[in-house]
Symmetry: C2
Subunit: 189 residues, 2 copies
């Protein structure tokens, strides 16, 4: 049993699958995410719970890819939740009445643990970007940076069915039920 | 020279890098995206240019991960742009005055060609999801499905600096300059 499996072992009602024997494609880490959080317990539950300024450190090899990024107010950041188990297909969030499918959650535990976070771009210093809106562990591998397009990416009217049955929107319970995409852990531990 | 390099060979001013010798992590394809487009030239330039209903076909292995997804109005879909080159760090969009860094573009050509699309969830039939808002080739490998949270994912006020210098927002040129994230190709070909 791996460390991840020990740390995140299934709870009652949770469901795991046998993963495929081989990968279908490969990823390059293009840099690292620098945050104030070095232990999972210290990470905010989600990005709305912290104003911390974090840094995206892009490897020198990929630094030319940052050209013309200034003037962009928001970014989509993809990073790799390398401590999360990949075989959980149903998970039991703390406040939920029953387990939920992994694709209905933002838990880091998923077949491909790619986190998607929208951040404010505060400044660019060479190959380092200062951003606000992350909640992950210091040192998390960076996969991609994309400009955020309001026209195709912003859906303020979006609703999540199970959030409305769990708790009154806007309360702490509802916020917690959103599940951190970045705490390096899993659904509402 | 690979097929991708032939098809997408650098234009003047574009910049490539030597990629790392090995991958840092591996991906599982969890399903396929079914769309009406079987040739790159037929794909809409971006998701706003098509009302087509597409299908996310999740592999039976991962189908239990869809539990409790109903009632969610919008999804973030991650898929793998397997025909795009990965070594371009600066690209020349058709309407841009100069090459731009890959991380300032939504072009599929990037070190980790993971596309991020926000879609409307129209219906669920077993392990198939009917969605609107994709622009990729039929058969594109599916990586992940996440519920869209307006509270953390919607930023209607976001702006992209280079879009404003390129063209008047809302015009065809501005829309084209957004670059398709999903056409399986590259920046505004």
């Amino acid at each position: 049993m791996s460390a991840a499996e020990t740390e995140f072992g299934p709870r009652p009602g949770e469901e795991t699958v046998d993963l495929p024997a081989a990968y279908d494609a490969g990823l390059y880490f293009v840099g690292r995410v620098r945050t104030p959080w070095t232990a999972r317990a210290d990470c905010p539950r989600n990005s709305a719970q912290s104003d911390a300024v974090c840094t995206l450190e892009v490897d020198p090899r990929f630094a030319p890819a940052l050209r013309e990024l200034s003037g962009t107010t928001h970014l989509i950041v993809l990073y790799w939740m390398d401590r999360a188990p990949r075989n959980l297909v149903a998970q039991q969030p703390r406040h939920a009445p029953a387990p939920r499918g992994t694709f209905a959650l933002r838990s880091p535990a998923r077949p491909n643990p790619i986190a998607v976070s929208v951040v404010d771009l505060l400044g660019i210093d060479g190959a380092s970007l200062r951003v606000r809106g992350l909640d992950c562990l210091d040192g998390t591998p960076l996969l991609d940076i994309k400009p955020y397009f309001a026209s195709t990416d912003a859906r303020p009217q979006a609703r999540v069915g199970w959030r409305e049955t769990d708790a009154v929107p806007g309360t702490d319970a509802a916020r917690e039920a959103e599940l951190s995409a970045g705490a390096g852990g899993r659904a509402a531990p």
